[in-house]
């Protein structure tokens, strides 16, 4: 095999100039801090005296035995376990119902997607107002129905569920659009055949539509697991990790260790744990998406 020296496929070192600006920034602002973080995680780093000494795997061992860390990992897993099924089922139902032409369907799609474009601080501001005791929209709604007020953000049992539901409300649009897109890709001749056979709609749904969406369902679930595992700002702003640590998440733990406890080594060790989990998740996602490309 010979490399051509002229034309489009010619290999020239000068062509690397196209990628140089990005790669420089990428190396400086992503790879270098990543390496520095891994290095720091093997040290005990005192911010005040700027002293740093090698502790090997000490930080990781400490994490392993830290009950607060166990709690935040468990909280994060619970958050993922609660929010992901709601995300998948609700967005799938919305997509199935709204996969049609017409002004009303277009308007409804836009309505359910709309909140996704707002920032997390706007969402938490709106919901903290809506969830206020007595004067809040939800409290008034409960009162109007004659129901007792629920401590939605202040009870150990309900706070995590409430934040999860607010998160679903906020970003249901993305999985909905992904399902809509997957629905559009189902070949219409399958449906035409089913219509000729007078197949009942329920059987069309369970025998044609849902099986065709199997891959999309797995992908959406995985993407939500990855996204929700990094949950942080809405929790910090709505409950600040409380009540009794029942909503404190992994990323909040990292943030607080670094910027409040000022223990950088410990915080970076925790962020390497997060990185490892994310690497597994994203690799699986890329592998799933690649598989689809091959089949086409």
């Amino acid at each position: 095999m010979s490399t051509p020296t002229v034309g489009l496929r010619a290999s020239r070192p000068a062509y690397a100039l196209f990628v140089l600006p990005f790669v420089t920034l990428y190396a400086l602002l992503l790879l270098w801090p990543l390496a520095k973080g891994i290095y720091t995680s093997f040290h005990d780093h005192d911010l005040l005296s700027n002293d740093s000494f090698w502790v090997g795997l000490g930080n990781y061992q400490e994490l392993w035995g830290d009950e607060v860390f166990h709690q935040v990992v468990w909280n994060t897993i619970r958050f993922v376990l609660v929010s992901t099924p709601i995300f998948v089922i609700l967005s799938l139902m919305l997509a199935l119902a709204l996969n049609r032409q017409g002004k009303l369907a277009t308007f409804l799609r836009a309505t359910f997607f709309c909140a996704s474009v707002f920032s997390v601080t706007l969402i938490t501001l709106v919901w903290k107002l809506a969830l206020m005791p007595e004067r809040g929209l939800i409290a008034q709604f409960f009162a109007a129905l004659g129901l007792p007020e629920l401590p939605l953000l202040t009870s150990d049992n309900l706070a995590l569920l409430t934040v999860a539901l607010v998160t679903v409300w906020w970003i249901i649009g993305l999985p909905m659009i992904m399902f809509l897109s997957a629905l559009q890709q189902i070949p219409s001749d399958i449906y035409e055949a089913a219509a000729l056979d007078n197949t009942p709609r329920w059987r069309v749904l369970t025998h044609i539509t849902l099986p065709s969406l199997k891959r999309a369902i797995v992908l959406v679930a995985l993407i939500e697991v990855i996204r929700q595992f990094q949950v942080f700002p809405q929790i910090m702003l709505m409950t600040n990790g409380g009540p009794n640590n029942t909503t404190r998440s992994v990323v909040q733990f990292i943030y607080e260790q670094a910027f409040m406890q000022l223990s950088l080594g410990y915080a970076t060790a925790a962020s390497q744990v997060l990185l490892a989990i994310m690497l597994i998740g994203v690799s699986t996602q890329l592998w799933l998406e690649r598989d689809r490309g091959d089949r086409k």
């Binding site: 489009l8 990628v19 601080t121 943030y255 690799s283």
Partner: protein
């Protein structure tokens, strides 16, 4: 679901239920919007009046006079614009380089960049914050903007897009002895406008809504972005006497993103759905 199936009562019931759900879905936003036009004193006792009087614009006038939201709005706009332009330029160049050019180490470098797709910002923000402090970039526009330029998603997207453009166009230009850069700029780049729009909207909204990085890098209130600044106003609202003011701030802060969304709505939805949709 399928145009060939007859639309019966079931369809109408589903759509009616969804319309009702949409109304409930929007209720908190509509409630905040309606109450932002009520006097603060009124809201101390009543928060269940949507459309009936009293009305006031005092809360919005208070924003003009007392709060820093305009300063924050300016910071957000500047940072988001700079970052969007930066990402578009860098990703287009790099995407073209990776997709259409051959140079020593190309595959290896591309794999290295793709690895970055799996690295969440939350796992590098602590060392990055240390670096930026050493470089005196805390509380600067550059400090707020730069980290977003190193995100590899844009390069991934543009590389895919450039790969899909047929080679013949470029070969013709090369025969005319046009330089590689000139070919890129005049022939290939104009073909990527849809991808530029997609990437641009995502970058802008992502930057506009980013919370974690402005939280750690902007510590002075006059360097806050709108998203960061809005967080600084949030406390326990149960005893708040300035509900109307808070709600007006929420409405004000939501407007830019909402207008961008309405303007690019069609495009945004196809963008999320990926390239496979007509």
């Amino acid at each position: 679901m399928n145009p060939l199936l007859r639309r019966g009562w079931f369809d109408r019931a589903v759509m009616a239920a969804l319309t009702l759900l949409a109304l409930v879905w929007m209720a908190p936003l509509l409630w905040v919007l309606a109450l932002s036009f009520k006097p603060n004193e009124f809201l101390l006792t009543r928060t269940d009046v949507f459309l009936a009087p009293p009305y006031t614009l005092a809360n919005y006038l208070d924003i003009l006079q007392t709060s820093q939201v305009f300063r924050w709005l300016g910071n957000s706009a500047l940072v988001a614009l700079l970052q969007t332009v930066g990402v578009l330029v860098l990703s287009s160049l790099a995407g073209y380089g990776f997709a259409r050019c051959e140079f020593p180490g190309r595959k290896w470098l591309f794999a290295l960049v793709m690895f970055g797709l799996a690295v969440p910002a939350q796992s590098v923000f602590i060392p990055l914050h240390r670096l930026f402090s050493e470089w005196n970039l805390q509380n600067t526009i550059a400090g707020l903007t730069l980290p977003g330029l190193a995100a590899p998603f844009g390069v991934y997207l543009m590389t895919q897009y450039f790969k899909a453009i047929p080679a013949e166009l470029e070969e013709a230009a090369m025969l005319d002895n046009a330089s590689r850069f000139k070919t890129f700029l005049t022939i290939i780049l104009p073909l990527t406008l849809p991808a530029q729009a997609t990437l641009g909207i995502f970058t802008f909204l992502g930057c506009w809504n980013d919370y974690l990085w402005p939280l750690v890098i902007a510590t002075q209130p006059d360097m806050y972005t709108l998203t960061r600044g809005l967080a600084s106003t949030q406390t326990n609202f149960a005893q708040s006497e300035g509900l109307g003011f808070l709600m007006a701030q929420a409405v004000f802060a939501g407007m830019p993103a909402l207008m961008l969304y309405l303007f690019f709505q069609r495009h945004l939805v196809t963008a999320v759905a990926g390239t496979g949709k007509s």
